[in-house]
Amino acid sequence: MLAYLRLALICWLIYLAVTANLEPSNLIVGLLIGLAIAAILKPVSQPLSLGRLPGALFNLARYTVWLGIDIIRNGVRVARIVLDPRLPIRPGIIAIPSGMKTELGVALSAHAITVTPGEQVVEIGDDGTMYTHCLDAVSSAAGAEEAQRKRRAMLESIFE
């Protein structure tokens, strides 16, 4: 019940931010939409400890900045590949062990890899191995496990 209301509240706030309209009618419509979305999604109840929230938010901000830098660096790399007349791609699918224990952890690792230009998770194995298609498989394979270790440490600092 608490998880349901929490999700409905978040959806409501997002709706209000998008519409930027605080008239009573809009407040009611947003609330109804939020409740409907929460009812469809059936959120899982998860213990929320407020004491950990500031630390988690700080780690989330740090992770976002790190991801942003990674995205820009790889964006430039992909730009160089696409603009090069010789088109120097070495595509391939490499296996990267995620090392995460939870499904959420694997999903977030896969998201971080896929949001980075030049790498994209095609399939996730039962053991959490991420089969990643890379534009340049040689250089990606060289740094993949190190990058995943860093990513994992950051994600765990947010959620644990």
């Binding site: 791609i89 391939g92 998201h111 194995g125």
Partner: protein, 122 residues
């Protein structure tokens, strides 16, 4: 202050347009569905994210909308391109010019394990 915001917005428009063009260029030049997804699904999304960022700076009343649009694009973009890549692989579309394919090796291994268990009932 307004001049700083507008200059920054101009820079963001430039970067966003550059990435959008790059996405289209990659879509035309790259050889197969997987590599093209890199260009269209991600580089293209960044174009849109930067343009939304510029909108947030130029039109203050659209700030909330633009920021939420950026967040949603960054969350949903990779999900879409993963779904397309996964579907393409399951349909058996080949990875062109591949120098290695760990997933194919893994599938072969799984298939042979399955065969050996089904062909030789205990």
């Amino acid at each position: 202050m307004e001049i700083i915001g507008q200059t920054l917005a101009l820079v963001l428009v430039g970067i966003g347009t550059f990435f959008s063009i790059l996405g289209v260029l990659g879509l035309m030049r790259l050889p197969d569905v997987y590599t093209r997804l890199h260009a269209a699904g991600k580089v293209g999304v960044f174009g849109a994210v930067f343009l939304a960022g510029a909108t947030a700076l130029i039109i203050p009343s659209l700030f909330g909308k633009a920021v939420i649009l950026m967040v949603l694009l960054v969350i949903a973009g990779p999900v879409v391109s993963h779904a397309l890549a996964s579907a393409a692989y399951r349909m058996g579309i080949a990875v062109k010019r591949a120098i290695r394919d760990d997933l194919a090796d893994e599938r072969k291994r799984r298939l042979t394990v399955k065969d050996s268990t089904t062909n030789h009932p205990v």
